[in-house]
């Protein structure tokens, strides 16, 4: 035993920052490859938003009066809806990693929870940006005519990306909380429905009175109002700051929540 004492003095070093960054990079590559090859994920996150937009514009659009052409009104809503879809898939894929053997291997290789989740969130964000681009493309084809300069576009894409990253990280936390991938995908649906009671598809003042306070003050509404303002030139008011505050709060809260949950799950 006396030899053992010598080695007692070795300090436990932290994972170095370059190693953590490298691991996150590898994880992003992995998650992108996995989601590219998972047909279900691809169909859901790329095709569904486009189908939904066509549905809203052609099926419901004729009956909804918003004061603008409906396709122009509805595009920001469809973008957020598809962010919800994409994010809900993050919960499932995180949960899958946590419930099969791979998490044990990653942990025994000293790959932290942050690197693993960053991989899932980044892959989700990239998936969503691709489907957002597709939505914009199809929207242009069917008559979406925004009224925005280059800076407006830049701000709109940045806000959309921030929202997607925030919701994806929130969804990743849900993936850590769920006991099975199936349960995780169930939770994910909650995130997905958030855009409905907001100004995404119909103006809030056309909704029943009891739901209007919720619809006005939930996070999706200021994000949509800001996107609409940037793209169509409608007044933004304080929606911009509210949108950023909501997204940053959700992101920060989710990062803290997920690190606590990861520690609890892997104790």
């Amino acid at each position: 035993m006396s030899e053992l004492v010598l080695h007692n003095r070795e300090r436990t070093t932290e994972v170095s920052a370059p190693a953590a960054l490298r691991n996150a990079g590898v994880m992003i590559g992995r998650c992108l490859r996995l989601s590219r090859r998972d047909i279900d994920t691809m169909m859901t996150s790329i095709m569904l938003p486009v189908i939904l937009m066509l549905l809203f514009v052609y099926l419901f659009g004729g009956a909804i009066q918003t004061g603008t052409k409906y396709v122009t009104y509805v595009v920001p809503g469809v973008l957020l809806l598809c962010a919800g879809f994409g994010a809900s898939l993050t919960a499932t894929s995180v949960s899958r990693d946590m419930t099969n053997g791979i998490i044990d291997r990653f942990r025994s290789m000293d790959i932290g929870g942050a690197s693993l989740l960053a991989g899932h969130v980044a892959a989700s964000a990239l998936r969503n940006l691709v489907s957002s681009a597709l939505v914009f493309g199809v929207a242009f084809l069917i008559g979406f005519r925004p009224n925005a300069g280059a800076l407006d576009w830049l701000a709109a894409v940045a806000l959309l990306a921030l929202f997607i990253v925030a919701i994806s990280w929130f969804s990743a936390s849900i993936g850590l909380l769920a006991r099975s991938p199936e349960a995780a995908s169930g939770f994910g649906f909650l995130v997905m429905f958030l855009p409905y009671p907001s100004s995404a598809f119909v103006p809030v003042n056309t909704m029943p009175g009891w739901i209007q306070p919720f619809a006005r003050h939930q996070p999706v509404t200021p994000v949509i109002e800001t996107l609409r303002g940037l793209l169509l030139g409608t007044p933004i008011g304080n929606s911009g700051w509210l949108a950023i505050a909501w997204c940053v709060a959700i992101l920060a809260g989710s990062i803290i929540l997920s690190s606590v949950l990861f520690r609890l799950r892997t104790r």
Partner: protein, 319 residues
């Protein structure tokens, strides 16, 4: 070679709520050797491995792996070990080569080395033809080999193999044994778990029998076979005796019973006194037993008596 044991565990304890899973497990594994944890389902094998691989904190006791404390120096332990868990830890949607390259990158190998190492491992584990196919198309044996290859991308000092052949067909099992045997020459220390005595016998230098969270026997395979119930006493009962009553009276000391042949088998060390005592105990009136025969115990008989599902001559043996 380092002067300290590759693995040294002292009195590891773990409970889940009321359920006591490890009731004080101690092990010492010399460097460069293969050590088998042998035990039935639920014995605590995976729990022991996960504690030693720093994935689970013990409630009590302590352990060093590659010279580092598994709690206080977790990171140093992780740098020295590799784990192949009970369930395959590879991505079905990636190819075999992609899985290996990913592990290489996570281990910090550079681009060129990653490629070279992945190719070498595919070669070594007989997966060259399957290397560019998705793992989803692999057979159980191929998955196991890839899973093992993935934990050898950077050769570890201590390798944990949790039930490496459970669920494999006999041919794949033999292939896996071959692969594990080739590792031994390379100086790595291996701790493997298994439910099969034959496997422990084939692969390991020492065996600890784990049952109900306790080490019930420990030693080299030869020592274990010698010291424990290596003989079997087959009793043929008289035709007017109900074999099931006798079997019920003997409880879990019965290795095997075959009512149609009126046959009951018990473990014994083959010594005259033990056999005489057994016969007297079962048949005080000298009317119950018609014939007896002494046979060499099969490996399965030894295992049965080791894991306490049939009693050995002694309750617990430490070699």
């Amino acid at each position: 070679m380092p002067p300290y044991p590759a693995i040294e565990a002292i009195d590891l304890r773990k409970s889940y709520g009321e359920l006591l899973v490890l009731a004080g497990v101690s092990l010492t594994v010399p460097p460069g050797t293969v050590y088998a944890l042998l035990g039935p389902n639920g014995a605590g094998k995976t729990t022991t491995v996960r504690i030693l691989a720093t994935l689970l904190r013990p409630d009590g006791g302590r352990a060093r792996v590659a010279g580092h404390d598994i709690v206080a120096q977790r990171r140093l332990v992780r740098r020295a070990i590799s784990l192949t868990g009970q369930f395959a830890a590879i991505d079905e949607l990636q190819t075999g080569a992609e899985n290996l390259r990913m592990m290489g990158r996570l281990r910090g190998l550079s681009g060129k080395d990653v490629r070279r190492r992945a190719d070498a491992l595919l070669q070594q584990f007989d997966l060259v033809d399957a290397g560019n196919r998705r793992v989803g198309t692999y057979s159980g044996g191929m998955r196991r080999r890839l899973d093992l290859a993935a934990s050898l991308v950077v050769p570890p000092r201590v390798l944990f193999l949790d039930e490496p052949t459970t669920g494999l067909d006999p041919r794949s099992r033999l292939e896996m044994w071959k692969v594990v045997k080739t590792l031994v020459g390379s100086g790595v220390t291996v701790l493997l778990t298994t439910q099969y005595l034959e496997e422990a016998d084939q692969l390991s230098d020492r065996i600890a029998v784990l049952d109900g969270g306790r080490v019930t026997a420990e030693g080299t395979p030869a020592e274990l076979k010698r010291s424990l119930a290596d003989q079997r006493l087959d009793l043929t009962l008289a035709s007017d005796v109900d074999p099931s009553t006798v079997a019920a009276r003997l409880g879990d000391r019965v290795l095997q019973s075959d009512p149609t042949q009126r046959l009951i088998s018990l473990a014994t060390d083959g010594e005259a006194t033990h056999i005489r005592n057994l016969l007297d105990e079962i048949d005080p009136t000298r009317t119950t037993i018609e014939r007896f025969a002494l046979r060499s115990a099969s490996l399965d008989d030894v295992y049965l008596s080791l894991t306490g599902h049939a009693a050995a001559p002694q309750e617990s043996t430490r070699v």
